[in-house]
Every structure is written in C-alpha cells, then in structure tokens.
Symmetry: none
Subunit: 212 residues, 4 copies
Amino acid sequence: MRPENNPGGQKVRSFIETARRAQIVASAIEVIAEQGFANASLARIAQHAGISKGVISYHFAGKDELMEEVVTQVYAEAVQHVLARIEGLESATELLRTQIIASAEHMRDHPAQVKALGEIFYNLRLPDGRPRYGIDTSEELLQSLENIYRFGQESGEFRPFDVRVMAVSHSAAVDSMFAYWTAYPEHDLEAHAHELADLFEHAARTQEAPHS
Amino acid sequence: MRPENNPGGQKVRSFIETARRAQIVASAIEVIAEQGFANASLARIAQHAGISKGVISYHFAGKDELMEEVVTQVYAEAVQHVLARIEGLESATELLRTQIIASAEHMRDHPAQVKALGEIFYNLRLPDGRPRYGIDTSEELLQSLENIYRFGQESGEFRPFDVRVMAVSHSAAVDSMFAYWTAYPEHDLEAHAHELADLFEHAARTQEAPHS
Amino acid sequence: MRPENNPGGQKVRSFIETARRAQIVASAIEVIAEQGFANASLARIAQHAGISKGVISYHFAGKDELMEEVVTQVYAEAVQHVLARIEGLESATELLRTQIIASAEHMRDHPAQVKALGEIFYNLRLPDGRPRYGIDTSEELLQSLENIYRFGQESGEFRPFDVRVMAVSHSAAVDSMFAYWTAYPEHDLEAHAHELADLFEHAARTQEAPHS
Amino acid sequence: MRPENNPGGQKVRSFIETARRAQIVASAIEVIAEQGFANASLARIAQHAGISKGVISYHFAGKDELMEEVVTQVYAEAVQHVLARIEGLESATELLRTQIIASAEHMRDHPAQVKALGEIFYNLRLPDGRPRYGIDTSEELLQSLENIYRFGQESGEFRPFDVRVMAVSHSAAVDSMFAYWTAYPEHDLEAHAHELADLFEHAARTQEAPHS
DNA sequence: GATGAATGAGGTTTCATTCAT
DNA sequence: AATGAATGAAACCTCATTCAT
C-alpha cells in the first residue's frame, strides 16, 4: 500500500517510488507506441520493463491511473516545449507558424510519446464506456489556437473567419502530420511542417489587394 | 462450413447469406458507434442483432473479417456519395469545396457509419500488433485530393504548394469536422463545412494579383 | 450469452441449461460444505463438477448469482419440508415441537445443503461490503415462529413472553443443533431434536397452576 | 526476526513488542468488526493502525497467528467479565440468569470485540480448509454451562434434561441475542437478556405442582 | 444454416508473504 | 524494529473461437 496523501493533498513519494513510476510510465509509452493501446496489457508493460506485474499494481491504483499519468506527463512535456518556442513572438503569423514547427520538432524528438498519447486519447474509456478523453479535453489547446487566430484578426494580419473551425482544423492538421510521418518515416517532417505553416498562413491572412 | 471459393476465386453467396452478412455488418456498425471498438465484442454485436453468437462465426471467418467488411462497405458508400456530388464539376475550387461539403452531408446522414469507420481505422490491428489500416490505406483518397489540387495548380487557380501535405491536411480537417460535431452535436455541421471550404480555398488559391 | 428475459420476465431455459445450472449448483453446495465459503472459488467448483471454469460464467452472470441461486433452491427445499410436516397440526405445542423435529430431519437428510446455506449466509457480501443476507433475511422465518408462539399464547397453552425473543432463540437453537451435529457426527440428532422440543415447550408453556 | 522461544517455551516479549501486538490486535478487531472477515486484509489492518504492512508480518508469524491472538485476547476478556459477575452466586437459577445478563453487558460494552470474535470463529480455516474454530472450541464454555444446569438438577431447582443440549442451546441463544442487536441496534439488549433469562429459567426449572 | 454450449487463454486486481535496507 | 518494495499466486470475469446437434 502506497503512502497516503499528506494533509496538503500532495502525495509524498520516495525517490525509489518516483523512479519506479517513471520507469513504468516509460515502459507503458513504449509498449503502447509499438503494439497499440489494445495490446498494452499490464503484463506486457511489466514484461517490457523487466518487472513483475504486481509492481504496477503496487505503484498505481489501477491501469487507468497509469494511463492518466502517461497522458499528464507526456502532454505537459509537449505543451512546455511549444510554449517555450513561441514565447516572445509578437505577430500572429509568427505564432501560428512557430506553433506548427515546434510541434513537429517535438514529434521528431519524442515520437513514441506522441504516439502513445494519441492511442490513449482515442482508446481510454470511462467505466461506463464513454471516452475518457474527448475533443473537449483539447479545449485548452483549441482556445490557445483560437487566441492566436483572433489576435491576428484584431491586428489586421488575418481575414475574418470562424476561429473555432480554424483551430480545430489546425490541430487536426498538425496531428495528421505526425500520423503521416509515422506511416512513412522517410517523409520529411520538417518540410511538412513548413508547408503546413504556409498553408495556414495563406488560409488565414488578409488577401492582399494592393492598389498601384 | 461456408461455400468454398469457386474456381474463379469469387465467393458465391446465396441470398440468405448476403442478407445475413448485411444484417451483421449493420449491427456491428451500430454497436461500434455507440460503445466503441473495444466494447464491441461479438457477443454484443450478436445480441444487438438479435441473433446467436455462432451466426457471426458461421458467416465470417473471424472478427477481423467482419471488421474489414464493415470498412469495405462503409468506405465504398462514402466514396460513392462524394463522387456523385463532384461529378461534372470543372473548376478545382468547386471540386475542393464540394468534396468538403459533400463529406459533411454524408456525415450528417450516416453518422454511425462514419463513427464506426473511424473506430476500426484507429483500433483494428494485425495479429503482430501493427495497425491493420494506416494512413497508407487512405492512399487512394489522398491521390484523389492531390489530383484536385494539382489540377488547380495546372489551371492557375491555385498557387504552388506540396499537394501531398495539402491533401493530408485536407483529409484530416474533414475528419476533425466530424469528430467535433460528434462531441458537440449542437455544433452547426453545415456552417463548419463552408468555413472549411473557405479555409482550403484561401490556403490554395493564387493570391490576387495587384490591380494596375 | 444466455437467452434474454422474455416479455413476461421469466427466463426461458433449455433443458440442457437447466440441467447444467442444477449441476453447478450441486457442485457449489458440495464444495462450500466441504471447504467453506472462502475456499469455494469458481475454479474449485468447476473442477469438482468436472467442467471448465468458463461454463459457470456462461450459465451464471457471476459468482453472486450462483450463490444466490444456491440459497434460493436450498432454502425453498427446507421450508417446503418443514411446512409439509407441520401442516394440519392444531396445537401450538405440536407446531413448535414438529418445527424442531422436522428441521432435524431435513438436516439429517441434506447436511451439505444446510451447511452450504449457513456458509453463504454468513459470508456473502454485497459489493459495498455489507452482508448480502442478514438476520433481516430471516424475518420471514422469525414471523412464522412468532405466529406459532403467539397462537399458543392466545389459546392459553403458552405463558406471556416476548415472542420475538422466543423466535430468535428458537431459530438459533435449531441452527446450533445442526452445527453441533456437524462437529460431532456421532451425536444423536434425533434425540437432540426431542430434547430441544422439550426445552422450548417448557420455556413457553403455562406453568401448572397449584392444585387446591 | 523475533526472539526465539526461551528454553522454558515461553516467548519473552519486550515492552515495545507487547505494545505493538496489542495495537495490531486492536486494529484487527476494528477492521473485522466494520468490514467483515473477508475484507480484513493485512493491508487494511495496517492502514487502519497507521503502520506499515510489514510490521504485522514482523510481529506475527502470519495472518493466522494474528487472528488467533485476537480470539485469545477477546475470549479471555469476555470470560473474565462473566466469571466476575457470577462469582459467589449460589443458586443455579441465579447463575444461569446472571450468565446471560452479564454476557449482554459485555456485548453492550464491547460490540466490536464480540463481532470480530464471531467473524473469526465462522471464517478462519486451517490450511486444509477445515474450520480453525468449531463448536469443539467452545467445549470449555459448554462444560461451564453444563455445570450450572447439572448443579440445578442436583439441587432440585431444575427438572431432568440433557444438560449438553441445554448448554448448546443456551450458548446459541446468547450469541443470537448479539447478532440480533447488531442487525437492529435500536433493539433493547437488556430487555432481551432478561427475557432470555426467563426463557431458560422456565425451560430448566422443576415445574411446580404444589399440593395444598 | 443456425444455435446453444463449452473452452481456454488472457485481462485486471487483490493479497499474504518475503526481503533488503 | 520497522519499512517500503516486490513477488507470484489466485481470484473473477470477458472474449473469440470451436463444435455437436
């Protein structure tokens, strides 16, 4: 039985426990990325980590907690990377371009993590059968993207359009970049990212009608 | 035991067999759409259809064949609808816009089918754990979209860009339109489709030349 | 998957299913009687019956349903036996004596059933941890006994006393007769029953008035 | 590793060890009383005591030894209370009445202990599946009760009857008094005890037929 | 053609116990 | 003396598949 919450509500985890949890999360990411969510049984995750099945049950309340821990860690890392890269940018165009390109960088550097994240998003279900994560889970991301596009509209860089549709499409296009690269590893991810940046820049920006 | 292949390699299916297979496929679509791929056991599909579990095993070699049959039928129907709607169109802009809008129509009319198709695409795996369907399965669709965009480039309607990236993004954006609508059923699907058409039209078309 | 309820709410069970359920119930009774509730796993019950573990899952929704079926069948049989023996009796004294003696007969003829019934009563718990069967489950039995004692009070055979305490004690004493016989099989069950009948007759009956 | 037996065969326990064992026993009693024997895992007992699971294994050879320690301590305390209350009584009638009433007092004052005792009695099994405690374990208690009833027969207070049956029934009736009170806490335990005393007094005593 | 019945593998989880620190 | 960590067995349950009827 793991330590209880302390009064502050934060788990107090020993060094060993932290390390084990990280090891298990890492193993889960690899197994899910390689074999898919449906084949990622606790037995396989344990075997892949070279530990006993019971260890996972000891460190996590159940499979769901493990999966949620994977999501939390992986998602946080991705957000962190992208935010660091767009920090300080001042034009909406630069923001949207950099969001796409930084996402591609992160995918290139952590493909298994991103793959696992997607698998869990699509497959993890609540006990009642409804998806644990849905598009509504991405609300935060969508609002960030909306903010970029809305900022561009207000600054005059961008034409008028429905920012929600733009954000949803932007997000899906970025995800599809990763999926395509996963299917065709020789595909040029960086070039794809720049093309995609062009695509959304053209889609969003005010059409020039310069008069002579 | 079902009939063997005849010498020509084509299954000969009786009327009853054809009807049963259709009934089972329909039931599978509904169960998958409602409960998700992971919860769509043969038992549930059979129960939903009001038939015995054995019937499915009798008419299909296994669960995988059933799933593939669902994909085949549903995919064919979707393609058929969109093709009929874009037939005869002559400008690339009209083609791309109509492809998006017709897709939305099909989603509106057959949401369960489209939902099930997505579930199977994301979840069905080969025995070795690799995905049964991948982006490569969409090659045909991607080429059709590429053809539209390339046609536009050749006709001068569209600016130069990587048609593959455009096709992949286009496809993903259309899929995300459906996913978003599924999550928020009150969302205006038709409006989304028109916004999306605008999005890709702006993304692709030649920027207006300066007026002299 | 077993057949669904028909509209009337009654399960429709085939002959084979009925036989299998009876066989499994019988096996469960024997295993519980011999090894105790805690050791009566589905695996052992299946093994004892010479069938596969999955058969039980096929015929019963779960272990709980199996246990409840055991209780239902065994309890009904016991009640039926005792009721048949006391039918037509007219004095309260005869009723209480015969209730005890008939119970002993049933115990003698079906010791495993009675043992299993007790095990399940004491051990089966609801998912929330509360007992599935409690003293409140015996309410029906207690009321029957109360009726006997109250009848005796009204007819003047019995002295005044709290009929509930008498019924609870009566019921416990009968159960302890079985438990004692189980522990000491050479113990004379029939003699015990007659002694117990004397005990409660003396406990209940009106004290003879002094002769003048 | 705990201290070995000394040559005399008695464990030598340090103060700390004694205190820890008592703490663990107390925790076990509470957990068993609240959640039932089946749900009283070592993990839960340790958690309830606010100690590590390993401590229990350190101080007790195993779960069985802990359970036996609970029985020993609780039983001794109960016997002690009842013996103190009947000490010095001189008539069999007083003895039997007081045994019942004193038992009820103990139940009222230590319900968790009594509940836990019952749970363990009914559920603890030897490795071979046979009950660890049975009616034979109560032999000492039964003989004490027999002594009371035999004393009453010899003094002429009680009629002739089988003292073993009377003792077994008496014991069971007292236990059922507790079980009933547990199920219906608003039930008047003291009144029940007095009714029960009346019951066995009437059951046992010589029926007067005084002639004038 | 169709069905109910049965199987056995594999899933997650709980648990008593052991062990190094 | 005490602990956290780890183990492996066993529990219940679900499932795809096979088979006799």
